[in-house]
């Protein structure tokens, strides 16, 4: 039962207010993409032990989608940010580096 801060409402949300949306920062591949590209987009997920970026929706609140960076082992939440971006904000990446030196997740580190 996580608590995540909704970056739109600015409030700490109980997990019962939220809907999970799986992994964040996927790149969509449509018609014209190769089988490997499409498979990667549709099915391949990180499932890491440690730093992870995921999508959440404040479904029983403002209805907005946002991203959360957290540690899947310790449940530590590094930060949340609006979903209208293709990569984690630099400041958040710095915060994670301070807490988890040498972390990497997909192409980010």
């Amino acid at each position: 039962m996580l608590i995540l801060d909704c970056p739109y409402c600015g409030i700490a949300c109980d997990e019962t207010e939220l809907s999970p949306g799986g992994e964040a920062h996927l790149t969509r591949f449509g018609p014209g993409s190769s089988e490997d590209e499409f498979e990667g987009y549709l099915f391949m997920r990180e499932n890491p032990r440690g730093v992870h970026f995921e999508r959440w929706r404040h479904a029983h609140g403002c209805g907005k989608w946002f991203h959360a960076a957290r540690d899947t082992m310790t449940m530590e939440v590094f930060g949340t940010y609006p979903a209208q971006t293709t990569e984690p904000p630099a400041e958040l990446r710095k915060t994670i580096s301070e807490k988890r030196p040498g972390w990497s997740w997909r192409d980010f580190s």
Binding site: I3, P31, S33, E35, R57, W65, M75, E76, V77, A83
Partner: protein
């Protein structure tokens, strides 16, 4: 024999007698008793039969860890199985029955199982399962089912009610012993909001029984003063009869409060489940004494030493007249002293340690109690109860040196901290060599959202042993500054781990030494599991059932682990523990459900016309969160006949359908057309204003997920109809893509499903009925042709009229503001009276759409079906470069010519094929089953054609028109059906386009 003492009992009120029934016999106890205390006080030492061997069993403990004394409580609507007598408070009129006995507790035929015990070893379920195969079903399973098992499942609806309570607090302290009180006080004086919960009815835990002295006062007085002090503080909330059941991520915790179990009152909730969000959680949950593994340790009368003194001190109940104490640590002496003080006989204290020294052993000797060091129990014998204790050298192989007559054995194998709540959310344990126990590892605590620990264990739950250690540890865990409560240091002698008694016990003794009383697991069972290759403790648990069922091994786990470790030649910490999972002890299903029962289970969504349906005998069908009328059977009419009548009336004259539940989403903005082109498989941006178009929506995986008619309202706005169950889901689907992929597109989506009532007026007379209402709209074929919509007034109503049809008839779907819905419906009934206008339900709707070959999401689709499978290629744009699902539909499996595709099915004999039937073809698949080549997706009796019709997905179906395929029936025989077009009625659409 157990009996009530004439004096003593700090928790009972001898002036208040309480009468109760056990197995039909009336007994009495006192206010403040637990059922277990009252049973023992009434001389009832035999309280149940064991799970597997039906051995006679007695009360072992005085608390929530009790494995044996499980009761069926109450009757009929208040019946509850598996209640522990040790945690059941006595009240007048309580009825209890022992479990797992047949025909009676005293005479049980299942005892024969005990004689067969060598044929019922660890894993015997699995072994009997293997061979001979037929024996499992016809011999073993019926016998096991009849003779094994715990309580009976209740057969009546629960008469009690339950509730939730949500609370946030800075600190939650679980456990109201001296550690919990100290931690709560430490946190409270610092100004924190504190919630302190205690699972029993009484504060103070063990300390008052064990004679602790705190800050110069007897523990009892210190506890009373501290509770009074906490009660006076506005920032402290105290609850007794409230158990910390589980700890979850980020400080979430469940507390299970039993409000009326001790004093039934139907006007109050029976249980309350607290859903607590705590900044920090202190687990001051104490520790549990371990049994010793000697032969015959499951006989009624063999009890934990601390429980024996609890009964004497708390309830004035003597578990026996002559009690042998056997211990591997100092604590056993406390029991011997308490018994002696109560005037009971203690023939000997058997101290497994080589030397019996220290203040407690000395005090026992001074009290005239014989102390035998280095001794243990070879076996306890007796018929259904303790009669003779056979004493041996602990270090030996069980040669009996002395026999002592006794009716009770008090055993203490050391103490295990209650680490459950610490472990629920990832807290790790460390092995404490000195006290031979697992305790919380402070360096590996559960961590919260900020990455720092949010659970602290305190007192005995943290491995502290003496009162002074407990107080200091708990004060620190509560975050206290200043002076902690104090107690004198104690001169404590080290305990000695004893995992087998005697140490060299031969097989015959080990095979009678119980580890898990509740599941009948013996030392030899765990040894056998190890020999058979079960090296993981989790596997051993499942193979032997050690630590399963209602007590979850609270007594047995450490002893079992030790046996497994010895057998594997490993250290105990290397073997590790099984996983601790919530709840700590069982909680009621009622509490988990809370208020969500009956009408509150799931609120029903109601259309503006719902009440009319109810008043007119609707046979309801749940659809999403809605209730929709399935049909409107008249007095004496079957539902089937009603459907037939409704279909015929609609096709011949005019019918009326409440379609308000259909999803209505307005999609608006400069990029709305582009957005809808991505969502639907066909082109919506080119739809002219004033027109309607049927559209399909797919997931990115290519599968059809929803369908409906889209109307273009204006240059930049579209109204998308969704399925009844799909409105919220499709709204969320649109939001997701707009917010997370195309966030720069200017589109707004509003779900206006409940803003409108929508009524379908359907049938050849539909136009006449609407025209009779008057208004300013031209509803003629020329002014409002098929697949167009218009706005205006019909009668006095503000209407948006869609010329769309899901039945194949002339049809108008009319949306009016929700507030006008019921009046509009009534006006239509009036206007249609001369045509015998007939309201119809969802089944008539289904039948008519099937006659027309229209698909239904959820019937023809199941999450694996693409639009191409359903012959809907006409609704898939070939011009568009992209839409959701397009790429997926290009995968080779999706374009496989052998995919099952939609066809109509016409039975040769006119019968209705059973729903979900599969078409079988010749040959067997790799599993040895008949091969299949298709299945039925919709099947109905068609009143219009007076025969069975069906739709189905068939391999290469559209290429096999006219072929006959075979649908085997459950129970034998088969139905033959011809593959035909799915459109059974009016294939050219002449009737809807008039």
């Amino acid at each position: 024999m157990s009996h009530r003492l004439s004096t003593g009992g700090r928790l009972i009120d001898r002036s208040e007698r309480r009468s109760f029934r056990f197995n039909g016999k009336t007994m009495t106890g006192f206010a403040g008793d637990t059922l277990a205390a009252a049973l023992l006080g009434s001389g009832q030492t035999l309280v149940g039969r064991s799970f597997k061997y039906h051995r006679p069993r007695g009360i072992v403990t005085s608390g929530g860890e009790e494995p044996n004394a499980l009761m069926n409580l109450g009757t009929a609507k208040t019946f509850e199985p598996n209640a522990r007598a040790t945690t059941t408070e006595l009240f007048d009129g309580l009825t209890a029955e022992s479990q797992n006995h047949w025909p009676s507790l005293e005479f049980d035929v299942g005892e024969i199982n005990a004689k067969l015990s060598r044929f019922l070893p660890a894993g015997f379920y699995y072994k009997t399962f293997l061979w001979p195969r037929a024996f499992w079903k016809h011999v073993y399973e019926p016998v096991i089912r009849a003779s094994a098992g715990l309580g009976k499942a209740p057969r009546h609806r629960d008469a009690d009610h339950y509730e939730y309570m949500h609370v946030t607090t800075d600190v939650l302290v679980v456990g109201g012993g001296i550690a919990g009180l100290t931690a709560a006080k430490a946190a409270a004086v610092s100004g924190a909001e504190v919630m302190l919960v205690e699972q029993t009815a009484n504060w103070g835990g063990r300390a008052p029984v064990d004679g602790a002295v705190i800050d110069g006062q007897p523990a009892e007085d210190w506890v009373a003063a501290t509770v009074a002090e906490l009660e006076a503080m506005p920032n402290v909330r105290l609850r007794t009869r409230a158990m910390g059941a589980g700890v979850y991520d980020h400080g979430y915790s469940l507390v299970y409060e039993r409000l009326t179990d001790h004093a039934p009152d139907p006007s109050r909730p029976r249980h309350r489940l607290w859903k607590v969000r705590a900044g920090r959680i202190v687990t001051a949950t104490g520790s549990i004494e371990r049994p010793l593994s000697f032969a015959g340790n499951d006989l009624p009368g063999v009890m934990l030493a601390a429980a024996v003194r609890d009964y004497v001190v708390n309830y004035g109940v003597a578990p026996g007249k002559r009690t042998v104490v056997v211990t591997n640590n100092d604590d056993g002496y406390r029991t011997a002293l308490a018994l002696k003080e109560a005037g009971l006989e203690v023939p000997v204290v058997l101290d497994a340690r080589k030397q019996a020294t220290g203040p407690l052993a000395d005090a026992a000797r001074e009290a005239g109690i014989r102390v035998a060091a280095g001794r243990g129990i070879a076996k306890v014998t007796g018929k259904g109860k303790v009669e003779v204790v056979h004493i041996c050298d602990q270090a030996g192989a069980g040669a009996v040196v002395e026999e002592v007559r006794a009716d009770c054995v008090a055993m203490s194998g050391g103490w295990s901290p209650v680490v459950h709540l610490w472990s629920h959310c990832g807290g790790k344990l460390t092995w404490d060599d000195e006290n031979a126990c697992f305790r919380p590892d402070p360096d590996r605590a559960p961590t919260g959202a900020d990455g720092t620990p949010f659970v602290a264990a305190a007192g005995a739950a943290n491995g502290a042993v003496t009162t002074a250690e407990v107080l200091a540890d708990a004060w620190a865990a509560g975050g206290g500054s200043g002076e902690a409560p104090k107690a004198d240091a104690e001169d404590r002698q080290p305990m000695m781990p004893v995992w087998a008694m005697p140490a060299q016990a031969p097989y015959a003794l080990r095979a009678k030494s119980w580890l898990d009383f509740q599941n009948d697991v013996k030392v030899t069972d765990v040894e056998l599991a190890a020999r058979e290759g079960f090296q993981s403790v989790e596997h051993t648990k499942r193979y032997t059932t050690l630590g399963m069922a209602t007590d979850q091994g609270k007594l047995s786990n450490i002893n079992g682990l030790a046996v497994l470790a010895r057998e594997l030649g490993e250290d105990i910490p290397a073997v590790g523990t099984t996983t601790f999972r919530p709840p700590y002890t069982p909680i009621s299903m009622g509490a988990i459900g809370g208020e969500a029962r009956g009408e509150l289970f799931q609120p029903v969504r109601r259309t503006p016309i719902h009440d009319w349906h109810e008043e007119n005998g609707a046979h309801w069908e749940p659809v999403g969160h809605w209730r929709r009328p399935y049909a409107f059977p008249k007095e004496g009419e079957s539902t089937h006949d009603a459907v037939t009548r409704e279909v015929r009336a609609t096709r011949e004259r005019v019918g009326l359908l409440d379609a308000s539940t259909l999803g209505k989403l307005i999609v608006k903005g400069p990029d709305a057309g582009r957005f809808l082109d991505m969502l639907y498989t066909n082109m919506m941006s080119t739809l002219p204003v004033g027109k309607c178009r049927y559209g399909l929506m797919c997931t990115e995986n290519g599968f059809l997920t929803d369908d409906g008619v889209v109307a273009r309202l204006s240059d930049d706005a579209w109204l998308c109809h969704t399925t009844t169950g799909g409105a919220d889901r499709i709204h969320a689907h649109m939001e997701e893509w707009l917010q997370t992929e195309w966030w720069d597109w200017k589109v707004y989506v509003a779900n206006v499903t409940e803003q409108y009532a929508q009524v379908a007026v359907v049938g050849p007379k539909a136009r006449e009925v609407l025209q009779a209402l008057g208004g300013d709209m031209d509803l003629s074929k020329e002014a409002l042709p098929f697949m167009q919509w218009a706005e205006g007034r019909i009668g006095d109503f503000d209407a948006r009229v869609f010329r769309i049809s899901f039945s194949g008839e002339l049809s108008y779907e009319v949306a009016v503001p929700a507030s006008q819905g019921r009046a509009f419906w009534d006006a239509l009934l009036d206007a249609g009276r001369k045509h015998s206008i007939t309201p119809y339900g969802t089944e008539a709707l289904h039948v008519m759409r099937a006659e027309k070959g229209f698909i239904m999401i959820g019937d023809e689709t199941d999450g694996t079906v693409i639009p191409q499978d359903l012959g809907l290629n006409w609704a898939i744009s070939k011009k568009k470069e992209d839409y959701l699902g397009k790429r997926a539909q290009e995968r080779d499996h999706m374009t496989d010519p052998l995919r099952w595709k939609l066809v109509g099915l016409e039975t040769l004999d006119g019968s209705v094929i059973p729903d979900g039937a599969y078409a079988a073809e010749e040959g067997l698949n790799l599993n040895g089953q008949r091969k299949t080549e298709g299945r039925v997706t919709s099947t109905y009796y068609s009143p219009t054609l007076d025969r069975g019709i069906a739709m189905g997905l068939v391999e290469r179906g559209p290429d096999r028109m006219g072929e006959v395929i075979d649908f085997p029936l459950i129970g034998g025989g088969s139905v033959k059906a011809k593959i035909v077009s799915p459109v059974f009625y009016d294939p050219d659409g002449e009737k809807q386009n008039v």
